[in-house]
């Protein structure tokens, strides 16, 4: 039997970690773009647009990410598209993170004092101008800490894509376990790698929150 050192295991896990990072980036950026669309449709004046965005968010926040992955993986196949795991994984994660980001950002826009809308309206600004010059710059400041915090959820969410067969850190953990019969070491290391990815983000989210809040109080 081949003996595996901890270094052998760690090296293979680290090689797979890049796919976790790539998938996280794709999901976060793509989710951000779709989330922006959701945000605007959620605060739009048109009732149907608000209702549509709301039911989208309810649907994606009220069902397990794993099920969304399964449906993307098997569902797209029905349209005659040959779905590789990475495509289903990316698509499901983008749609899922969009629902959360859209909702987080809506909270931030609504946290801007109502008087700001009224003041900018009284200056004769159109709705787009109000958003562009008055509301978004202030909302952005509030939005940074929770957005950074949510990126941790995205990284953790990518672990589920191993179940539909996308080879990233979690899947590599399973594969390496099957080869080495050392689940304790392997999953321990996998957990530590995830921790190393996520903890700096959580921490900076906390620090940003403190900093921006302090600045906010001084106004």
């Amino acid at each position: 039997m081949i003996e595996f050192t901890v270094w052998d295991i760690l090296r293979n896990l680290l090689l797979a970690t890049r796919w976790t990072i790539v998938l996280s980036l794709v999901s976060f950026v793509g989710g951000g773009m779709v989330g922006l669309v959701l945000l605007f449709s959620r605060i739009s004046r048109r009732k149907w647009s608000r209702a549509l965005a709301k039911s989208y968010i309810e649907l994606f926040q009220g069902t397990p990410l794993l099920m969304q992955l399964f449906i993307a993986f098997f569902g797209l196949g029905l349209f005659g598209i040959d779905v590789p795991a990475w495509l289903a994984a990316g698509l499901a994660l983008i749609l899922w993170s969009a629902a959360f980001l859209g909702e987080i950002w809506r909270g931030c826009v609504e946290a801007v004092a109502k008087g700001q809308w009224e003041a900018s309206a009284s200056l004769g600004m159109g709705r787009l101008q109000q958003m562009r010059y008055v509301i978004l710059p202030q909302a952005l400041r509030i939005a940074v800490p929770p957005t950074v915090g949510f990126s941790v959820q995205v990284i953790k969410g990518t672990a589920l894509t191993s179940i539909i067969g996308f080879v990233e850190l979690s899947k590599a953990g399973t594969v390496v376990t099957n080869a080495t019969f050392q689940p304790f070491t392997v999953y321990g290391l996998v957990a530590l790698i995830y921790f190393a990815l996520c903890w700096p983000l959580s921490k900076s989210s906390q620090i940003l929150e403190r900093k921006l809040n302090v600045a906010h109080r001084n106004h």
């Binding site: 009220g62 069902t63 794993l66 099920m67 672990a159 979690s170 321990g188 921790f195 996520c198 903890w199």
Partner: protein, 223 residues
């Protein structure tokens, strides 16, 4: 697309689906009760507890919050046996959910405790209450009341996250969906139906938790 949707045949599998729903409900019931209790203990340690214990609890909370639930589950189910701790699928799933929710809820509850005005502690002390009595009778309930909505959302999130326990062959709702899928090859219907069931469960759970909130915190009704 020439796929014919058919949901009728799913009735054949209703025993599996019902069993899956029952296990998912059982998992979240145990997870929520034990997880919130664990969260209260951890929150107490981090806010008011002995200094030597704080780093341990902080480490536990940070570690759990920054790793995926799936890996925690695998570590408990596959990893712990090498330490001589072999758990059944259901026990491992239960333990993972309690450990997970414990970490998240402790952070939420801690925020509630820290929002308690100092005067409340002083008032408790001036009535000759011990620190523990003050915590139990003066601080805890209003703190929980303050953060109950956030805690409820976290419980719903953990319930949805429980879908992955099917990966260690715990026979929850997702396991039932996979079972049906592997028997019939009608993946789409099986997953759509179970997704819809999860959605209903999430809505019902949120309702149930807010009703529990009304029951535990009757002062709310008076306001």
């Amino acid at each position: 697309m020439n796929y014919q949707f058919e949901f009728g045949w799913l009735f054949e599998y209703y025993p599996q689906i019902v069993k899956g729903i029952a296990i998912t409900i059982e998992l979240i019931a145990v997870g929520a009760v034990a997880g919130i209790l664990l969260g209260i203990v951890c929150a107490w340690v981090r806010a008011l507890g002995p200094a030597w214990l704080k780093p341990f609890v902080a480490g536990y909370v940070e570690l759990i919050r920054n790793t995926p639930f799936l890996i925690q589950l695998f570590f408990i189910f596959f990893g712990l046996p090498s330490l001589g701790l072999q758990l059944s699928e259901l026990k491992a799933a239960n333990l993972a959910m309690v450990v997970n929710l414990g970490a998240y809820s402790s952070e939420i509850i801690r925020a509630g405790i820290q929002a308690t005005p100092r005067g409340q502690f002083e008032a408790g002390a001036s009535l000759a209450m011990s620190p523990f009595e003050t915590f139990r009778h003066v601080v805890l309930v209003p703190s929980l009341e303050r953060i109950w909505p956030a805690l409820s959302s976290q419980v719903v999130i953990v319930m949805l996250g429980s879908a992955v326990v099917s990966q260690i062959a715990a026979e929850d709702l997702t396991f039932a969906a996979n079972f049906i899928q592997s028997r019939t090859f009608r993946a789409f219907e099986a997953y759509i139906v179970s997704t819809a069931v999860y959605l209903v469960l999430a809505i019902l759970l949120r309702q149930a938790l807010s009703m529990v909130g009304w029951a535990i915190f009757p002062r709310r009704a008076a306001r």
